[in-house]
Symmetry: C2
Subunit: 84 residues, 2 copies
Amino acid sequence: MAYIDILGYVAGILVVISLLPQAIKSWKTESTKDISLWRYIIYVIGLILWVTYAAIINNGPVAVMNGVGLVLAISILYLKIKHG
Amino acid sequence: MAYIDILGYVAGILVVISLLPQAIKSWKTESTKDISLWRYIIYVIGLILWVTYAAIINNGPVAVMNGVGLVLAISILYLKIKHG
C-alpha cells in the first residue's frame, strides 16, 4: 500500500471514529437538546448513499468505513429522537 | 458524468451540508454542552487529512467538499470551546 493510501485510510478512520465520543456522551448524559436533529437526519441519508455508492463501485474499505459511520450516526439520531 | 458519479457527489454534498444545521443551531442558541468536544477535535483533524489527501491525489471535488466541511466543523468546534 502506498503512503498516500495510508493517509486516506487514516483520514477516513478518524472521521468515522469521531462519531464515537458523541454517541457515548449522548448515551451517558441522556441529554441531546443542543444536537441538531436535521444534522443527523441529513447525515444518515448521506451515509446511506455513500454505502450504496461504495457497494456499487465495489470499494470495500469505503463501504465498511461508511457502514460503521452509519451505525454510529443512527445511534446518535435515535438518542436525539428519544431524548429530544 | 455517469449516474454512479452523481450518486457519489450527492452523498458527499449531503454529508458536508449536514453540518450546516448544527452550526446554525449552535450559533443561535449559544448552547453546546450536549456536543462532544472530542467529536469535533478528531473530526477536524480527520478533515484536514482528507483535504491534504485529496490535494495530493489531485481530486478537486473531494478537496473542495471536505474543505467546506472543514470550515463548518471548525466553526462548530469554535462555538463549543466558546460556550462550553
